[in-house]
Structure formats: structure tokens, C-alpha cells
Amino acid sequence: MYVSVCIQCKKLLSRKNLNLTRKYTELFYNLMVPIFKRWLLRASIILSVIGPGIISGAADNDAGGITTYSIVGAHYGYQMLWLLPLVGLVLWLTQDMGARLGLVTGKGLAALIRENFSIRLTVIVIVLTAISNWMNIVAEFAGVASVAHLYHIPKTLLVAIAASAISFVVIKGNFQIVQRVFLTSSLLYLAYVIAGLKANPDWAAIASGSFIPHFSMEHGFLFTAIALVGTTVTAWGQFFIQSYYVDKGVKDADIKLMRWDITAGTLWTIVVAFFIVVATASTLYPKGIQINDAAQAAAALEPFAGYLAKHLFAWGLLNASLLGAGVVTIATSYLITEAFGWEGKVDLGLRESPAFYKLFLFFIITAGLFVLIPSIPLVPTIVFSQALNAMVLPLLFICMMVLLNRKDIMGMKTNSRLNNVLVLAAILLVSALNVSYCYALVSKFFKIL
């Protein structure tokens, strides 16, 4: 009897509860759904446009990026900070140019170069870019190998796993989904921001380093400065962002959103770079540590993460390397197929272009094997690859400038004069760095003689 009453009560209660709940749910639903829908609509519009800039911004902080920025901070303290805003400006300008080229012409950079310049110049640009990109992929695998070194795993094993995982995801799976995972995990870099703030940096020195240019004709300084430029502004990034915008099919009206995307990507790159430099400069530089392997670079995260610094650094580096290896290899294979007419699409249509796959596997396998050469110095390899990147840039920028100033290509949207002047200045800056480095190299060579 008692039990049945209880059950009855419970039923009553629950029905009443249910009604109440339903009422509240309805109220909540009526209130929230329009808001949510509107929010979703806006988010979907933003998400559909935002992407290329942020992806390439995040991929900029790849193995090459982390290593180079760490070396900049560890070896030269705050002295090179003034370069960062300049490099950021160059990055923003050139990415904006690439995106505009893509939006107006609906063609990738490689296709435009092929169609508007001589075949020789095309081959030179493509081959140089391919070589520097290949070195970049090598750097990404060097990043993977460094992680293996940190954990005392044989590097052959980890590199092989990484290479096959990337190939599998790109060829069989959906790289775009994986890319999102990597992008989200690149928030790991926030660790550097906290580490930089917690390391009690000398803010006065940072200010003077950021605003007062410091320059030296010493070989090491120039080399590192070039690597700093080359790791932030990349040749593959130019091709990547343009192709991506072409494939997204963004309308003219979305140029504003595109600018936001690029600005966000650039800011992310530069802010992370800034804090990596600050973190390493305030922890490693005073002790005079020269970074020769990843373990020393990891020490910069100690003020924030303590004994976990090693693990945080390793996972960040692994994430960066894998994202970078995927993006750079895709971009490179794509630009080659585009220039020589063996096209496929970046998105899903990849399966139709066997040339793309052959190139992709070629780059992954050769770069992976290169890193496996015993006793190859990982850190110098990485930095060298970034410096090589900077050497290709002036040529590429000149091609883009010419294209952007042609009325028959750009119509009403040719480059503004201000834009031209700024990019010209950027070209001069990068070339000046390159030339002075070569000069320093030659004079060093003669001194040895």
C-alpha cells in the first residue's frame, strides 16, 4: 500500500515537474533560439571567410618559427625585437596582396606567374620556391626529431610515424578536420605569453629593443635576422593563402572580412613571436645559453610550467611540426601542379590529381629521410631553412607587384601607390638583409683565408 502511494506521488510530482520544466524550456527556447540562430548565422559567415589568414598565421609558428624565435631571444636578447613589427607589417601587406590577387583573378599565384611571365622565370620561381619549401618540410621533420630527442625515443621511429600519419590523413582522410585540431591546439602557444610575463622581463629593455633599431654586420646576427624574416614571411604562405582564397570563392564584398582574417592571423603570429623572444631573452640570454638542441629551448617555459616545461614544449613543437608539415607540403605540391597544369583542387577534388599525390609523397619521404641522416645538427638545419626562405622572397614579391599593378589583370583594383611604396620598401629591406648577409659571409670567408 505504502509503496503504491509513493509511486503515485512520485508520478504526480514528476508530471508536475515535467510541466514546469516544459514551460521553462519553452520560455528559454523562445528567448534563446533567435539569439542563437542569429549568432550562428553570423558565426557561419565569419567562419566561412575567416580561415586562410589564421591558418597560415598559426602555421607560421611552426617548428622553424619556434626554433628561430627562441634563438633570436636566447642569443641576442631584446636586440632584435624592433624587427618584429616591421616583419609583421610586411607579412600583412604581402598576404593582403596575395588574397586580393586570388579574389580578383580567381587564380592561384603559380598560375598567374605562368600565364604572365616567361616560362623561364616561372620555372626559376617555382624551383626556388620548391627548394625552400622542401627545406621547410625538412625543418618540420627536424622539429619532430627534436621531440623524439627530448623523450629519448629513436628519431627514426617518430619521424616515420609522423610522415605516415600526415600522408594517411591527406590522402585517405580529411586534412581540413585534422587541421582544425592542430589549429585549436596551437593555443598551446599561449604558454609562451604567460611564461614571458612570469619571467619578470626587463620592460625598459624590451621597450628600447622594440623601438631603437640595433644593427650589426656580424655574420651570426645577420643570419639570425634573415631567418627571423624568413620564418615569419614565407614563400609557401603566399601561394597557400592565395590558393585558399581562390578555392573558397569569396566575393568582392567580403574583402573587409578577408582583411580581418589576415589581420588576426598576422597579430597571432607576431604576438606569439614577441612572447617567445621575450620568454627566451629573459630566461636563457642572461645565462648565456646557446641553443643547440630542443631541451635548451624548452627551458624558456620553466618560469611558467616548472618541471612540466619540457612536456609543454615538446607537445607544442610536435603540434606545430605536424601542422606545418601538412600545410607546407600541400601548398608546395599544389603550386607545382598548378604551374605545370596538372591541377587538382585543394579541397576535396584532390583525388583526381595523381600528380599531386606523387609530389606530396615525394616531398614527405625525401624530407623525412633527410632528417634521418645520423648526426645531422637539427637546430642549425631548421634555422638555415628559414634563412633560405627569405632569399626567395624578393623575387616572389616583385612578381606579385608587377601582377598587382597590371590593369588588364586587376581591373579597378590595382595596387594603391601607398601599397606599392610600402611593398617596395619591404622588398628593399629583405634584399638588403640578404645582400649584407652574403657580404658578411664572403668577408668572413676571406678572413679565414
Binding site: L41, S48, G106, K107, E115, D247, F340, G341, K345, R351
Partner: protein, 406 residues
């Protein structure tokens, strides 16, 4: 036989063997379905006097070494250039073309010129690596002749740069199978692809739209105006429209749904609830349905009136007044039976038939259809209401994409 690229930087001499300038370009006139006859030669004059267009009839011979004219330059008048004429080096070489027989987009590495019926014409397009090497003076790389030469007949090719040519392209393209046109649209960039779709008639555009891969389709919908997309979707079978709606972002999908005719929109909304890989998602709602009391003659009359709106009509589905599924009658049965019989007598009763439930997954549907050797099967809900029909081609497409990953 002459490759256009071999003329690069060739000096031009007139009949007195005086150097007058350098080769710049060759102009050919575009004639449909013919090898394009070469019309004139563009010369960059010496001392920066600009370019000069000379009729091809004045050209005596042309080779890598040089181009010789059969008259003095001072006697030659400048030739007319029509707006439809094509500058081969500027507009064709290194640009993309559509290879119509191969149904794909390729890049022109070189052009082959030759004499046909006494006239110099553009004969073929070289798209092979070999042509690239030749232009780079790297022929020696291919000592063993390992690299194949791939030529495309000029008549089977179409330029795609600029929207003007895309419009011209569509004339040839109409005769291709929609699936092949879809491949071309996928290969072109968004602007060109949407131009091409716009230039097709709506019925073809609709069939092409069905074949394009979802990702490209999503981008195309964004590039085309909503009105145009609405017009195209009106011509598509509803199940394909629903597939399209599913692949779009929520906002675009809702907008497109609002453009649909109200009767279709309601059905579409219902279909949207089913998952892509269930019977409900696979089925089409466009099939011939008739009442159980109809006579065969009436049904045949109905088919004659409406058959063009359906892709396939292998079976007529019989329902009672409340849309309960009663049975099917094959085409053969309808034709061979007496026109005065009612459908009740002619049809195969549902009791002997295998029907599908909307929530059944693709795998089960495929197994059932294979086991009972069905060309199509009715999808029926719990109350025996006829919801739709699954045909073999829908299953086939799904299965192929599962198996071969295309």
C-alpha cells in the same frame, strides 16, 4: 610542322634580307570546329617603334632561325585585327584549355602549327612535359625518349580564360554528358565555373549540378545569385535538392528553401529530417503514383502527359485513397494488359513485395535490393503510407563512393 615556342625571339627579315624586327605573336582567327587558320604575324619593330601586324600571306617561311617576308616592309600595310581573333602566344600559350574529349582542364605547353590545304593552321595543343623541356632548352634530359608526347586536337579544345571564352565554351559543352561537364566545372576556378553553369540552359545546369562534388557545389552556390540557384534547383529532382540543402551552411540552406515552390518546400523539409545514408535520405519523392481504381488506359495517358518530368519510370506505384501503398505495376505489365482493366487487377500486390522503412541504413537497403533483385523499391512508413521510392542508380552512386572513394 612548327612549334609556336620555337619562334621565340626569332628575327624578322623582309625581302631585301634587312632585319626589320622581332617576332612577337601570331594571330589566328577562331572558326568553330576547324583548325584555326593563322591570319597574321605581330612583329616588334626595331628601335622601339612599337608593334606591327603583317598578314600571314606575306610571310615566306618561319622557323627558329628567322622569319622571312616576301615583300619590303615599307610596301606592307598593317593588317586588320578582329576582336574575335586570338593572339596565340599572349592568350593561349601557358593558359588553361578545356580538353573536350578528355573532359578535363589542362595547361597549354606549346602549340603545333602546320599546313592544311595550303593554309597555315593551328593543329594541335601540346600539353606534355616534353614541350616544357623543349621550351627550356632541356630536351637532352629526355635522352631515352621516355616522356610521352600528349597532343590535343585543336578542334577538341576550348579556351577558358576570361568569361567571353567561357560562353563560347558552353556551345561545345552542351553536347557532353552532364557528368563530364561537372568534371570540367570542378577543374575550373570558381569564377569560370559559375560562368559556365550560368551559360548552360537550366535543365542541363540542373543535371550538371547533381553531378558536381558537394564541396565545389557549396562554393558554386555561394558564387551564383540565389535566384539563379533557385531556378536551377526547380529543375532538379527533389531528393537531389535535399542533398544539396544538406551540404550547405544553415543560413544558405534556409534561404534556398524559401525560394522553393511551397509544395516542394514542404516535402523537402520532411526529407531533410532523414540521414543521408538511410532509406529516407536516399529516396526520391518524384515517381508516378496512381489510384487503385484507375484503369490501365488512364494511367498510360497520365504517363504520356507527365513522363518528361521524371528521370526514370520503370514502375507505377499504386495507392488507395489515403495514400496507403497497395502495389506496383511494371511498365511491361501496363503495356501488355488490357486497357480497360483496373490497376487493382493488373498490379502486383504489396503482400508479395519487399518494401523499405525510411530509417533503414544504406547497407540494409543495398542488401535487400540485391537479394530480391529490385530495380526500385517503395519506402513505406509504419502506417503503410507511401513516402518515396529508391532506385538502383541512387544506391549505385552511394556504394561506388563508398567502395572506390571517389
Amino acid at each position: 610542322m612548327l612549334f609556336l615556342s620555337t619562334l621565340r625571339n626569332a628575327p624578322v627579315y623582309d625581302s631585301s634580307f634587312a632585319l626589320v624586327g622581332k617576332y612577337k605573336d601570331i594571330i589566328a582567327s577562331a572558326v568553330a570546329d576547324q583548325y584555326a587558320p593563322v591570319k597574321s604575324l605581330v612583329v616588334t619593330l626595331l628601335k622601339g617603334k612599337g608593334e606591327f601586324v603583317i598578314l600571314w600571306s606575306v610571310v615566306e617561311n618561319a622557323s627558329r632561325v628567322g622569319i622571312h617576308l616576301s615583300a619590303l616592309l615599307s610596301r606592307v600595310t598593317s593588317a586588320q585585327v578582329d576582336p574575335t581573333d586570338i593572339r596565340l602566344r599572349e592568350k593561349v600559350l601557358d593558359h588553361q584549355i578545356v580538353d573536350i574529349t578528355g573532359a578535363r582542364v589542362v595547361r597549354v605547353n606549346d602549340l603545333q602549327l602546320g599546313t592544311i590545304e595550303g593554309r597555315m593552321c593551328v593543329i594541335a595543343i601540346d600539353v606534355s612535359l616534353k614541350a616544357l623541356l623543349r621550351r627550356l632548352n632541356l630536351d637532352w634530359v629526355d635522352v631515352f625518349n621516355m616522356i610521352p608526347v600528349r597532343l590535343i586536337d585543336w578542334r577538341q579544345a576550348n579556351l577558358v580564360s576570361g568569361s567571353v571564352q567561357v560562353a563560347a565554351l558552353s556551345k561545345d559543352v552542351v553536347h557532353m554528358h552532364p557528368a563530364d561537364i561537372a568534371t570540367i566545372v570542378e577543374d575550373l576556378n570558381v569564377n569560370q565555373g559559375s560562368e559556365l553553369v550560368k551559360s548552360l540552359d537550366l535543365a542541363t545546369a540542373a543535371r550538371v549540378f547533381e553531378e558536381i562534388d558537394p564541396e565545389t557545389r557549396r562554393i558554386l552556390v555561394k558564387a551564383l545569385s540565389p535566384d539563379k540557384v533557385a531556378l536551377i534547383t526547380d529543375k532538379m529532382p527533389l531528393d537531389e535538392v535535399v542533398d544539396l540543402l544538406k551540404s550547405l551552411p544553415a543560413a544558405t540552406s534556409a534561404e534556398l528553401l524559401s525560394h522553393l515552390q511551397s509544395s516542394r518546400a514542404a516535402t523537402a523539409e520532411r526529407l531533410l529530417q532523414y540521414s543521408n545514408h538511410s532509406a529516407g535520405g536516399l529516396m526520391t519523392t518524384e515517381f508516378i503514383k496512381c489510384s487503385i481504381s484507375c484503369t490501365v488506359a488512364q494511367v498510360i495517358e497520365e504517363i504520356k502527359k507527365r513522363s518528361f518530368t521524371f528521370r526514370f519510370i520503370h514502375y507505377v506505384y499504386v495507392v488507395d485513397d489515403e495514400n496507403h501503398f497497395m502495389g506496383v505495376a511494371s511498365f511491361r505489365r501496363l503495356i501488355t494488359s488490357d486497357p480497360n482493366q483496373t490497376m487493382q487487377e493488373v498490379m502486383r500486390d504489396r503482400k508479395g513485395l519487399k518494401t523499405l522503412k525510411p530509417e533503414q541504413p544504406l547497407r540494409e537497403v543495398a542488401v535487400i535490393m540485391a537479394k530480391y533483385k529490385l530495380f526500385s523499391a517503395a519506402v513505406v512508413d509504419k502506417k503503410r503510407q507511401l513516402l518515396g521510392v529508391i532506385t538502383l542508380d541512387d544506391i549505385m552512386r552511394q556504394l561506388v563512393s563508398h567502395i572506390y572513394d571517389v
